[in-house]
Symmetry: C2
């Protein structure tokens, strides 16, 4: 297997943490997103959607989409379980992971990519260029604020996002909360549960080793 | 178990087809999205994100997000397999399902909800109202056109989206292709593979029984 990574991007950071939690090591290729390597012919052959992370299997097949890659690794390296231990827990982990992707990561990316100069003409990931839409900067920020509030509410009285153990939903959530820093949106002053959880999960060895460099904006 | 449905909406249609493919029957509650029932206090207690479908378990827990619900049902009613038969197939099904949700359903919803009069002030699903952004109508339509082209390409020489058997990725894709009709975007004239696949999967009994009524726009 081979992992196509980019040290500065939030999505592959999710996978770096996941791999560290499972103590999986594999050859890693750094993709130079800042210079558009994901749009090159060679990269498109692996992933026509031009995103990282990509997991290349030994038979040459390529899996993209972070959650799909995690699922493959959970199936092939089951312990420690990071995606739920029974049907109900698996469903709740997937539910929370999806919510955090859509209402957290998606919202922050909306605010960030529609404003940052480096993303002029690249407001969306993918093979086709889309212009920035200024109205999405404020909308994305508002959605991101709502996301942080909802996550704080979910974490009241809970140690982890989707149950009583650490799962991939916590990984996606911590990457989203840190990504919110890119649009200068810190954890709100009154979000005590979110702050407690963030401090606790951020101190895990997998997180300490895998902090993303900040994209220069 | 209980299924909170809405006959006019694309997302719960995915689950109706999934249930029919598995021959699962359960009590169904129709949620009146047209009159905002998803925003009521009673519904928010089940799903604070105010979306359908919702699967209520016998212990009272509620699972939301279509893919998470399908995963629960796949775990509890394994046959016929609709989400992959081994680690690689499972990953590819999840990958395609995610791509179709984001680049297909998400794009079409962007074009539709930012234009339709009935969605004035409700450009996004969820508990909070967001105004329509006119620039997103054209962007969503362009993205939806790209989606149909990419899906056609994927289906060249293939009977199904994510492998050699019918899976949940086909369900999500057929619902997306039909949803594109809501923005008057038919299958392109030159998309022969997409048309062949669409005709074939649309003739399955699960699909015939579960066609969504068109939302009045």
């Amino acid at each position: 297997m081979k992992f196509y990574d980019c040290k500065t991007a939030p999505s592959p950071r999710r996978l770096r943490i996941f791999l560290a939690e499972k103590s999986i090591e594999m050859p890693t290729v750094e993709v130079d997103l800042a210079h558009g390597e994901q749009l090159s012919d060679a990269f498109r052959k692996m992933n026509p959607y031009c995103t990282v992370p990509v997991l290349e299997l030994d038979d040459g097949s390529c899996i993209t989409e972070c959650f799909a890659i995690c699922q493959y690794l959970e199936d092939t390296y089951p312990e420690p379980r990071l995606m739920g231990r029974d049907a109900k827990e698996r469903a709740l982990v997937t539910m929370w992971n999806t919510r955090i992707e859509n209402t957290g990561l998606g919202a922050i990316a909306e605010a960030f990519r529609n404003k940052a100069k480096g993303f002029n003409g690249r407001a969306l990931t993918g093979a086709v260029n889309f212009e920035q839409i200024p109205d999405l900067v404020a909308r994305g920020r508002t959605r991101a604020e709502i996301f942080l509030g909802e996550l704080d509410e979910q974490l009241a009285g809970r140690d982890y996002v989707a149950g009583d153990v650490f799962t991939v939903a916590d990984i996606t959530a911590v990457v989203a909360v840190d990504f919110a820093g890119w649009i200068k949106l810190p954890i709100p002053g009154n979000a005590d549960s979110l702050r407690r959880w963030h401090e606790q999960v951020s101190s895990r060895p997998s997180m300490l080793a895998q902090e993303s460099a900040r994209w220069k904006v």
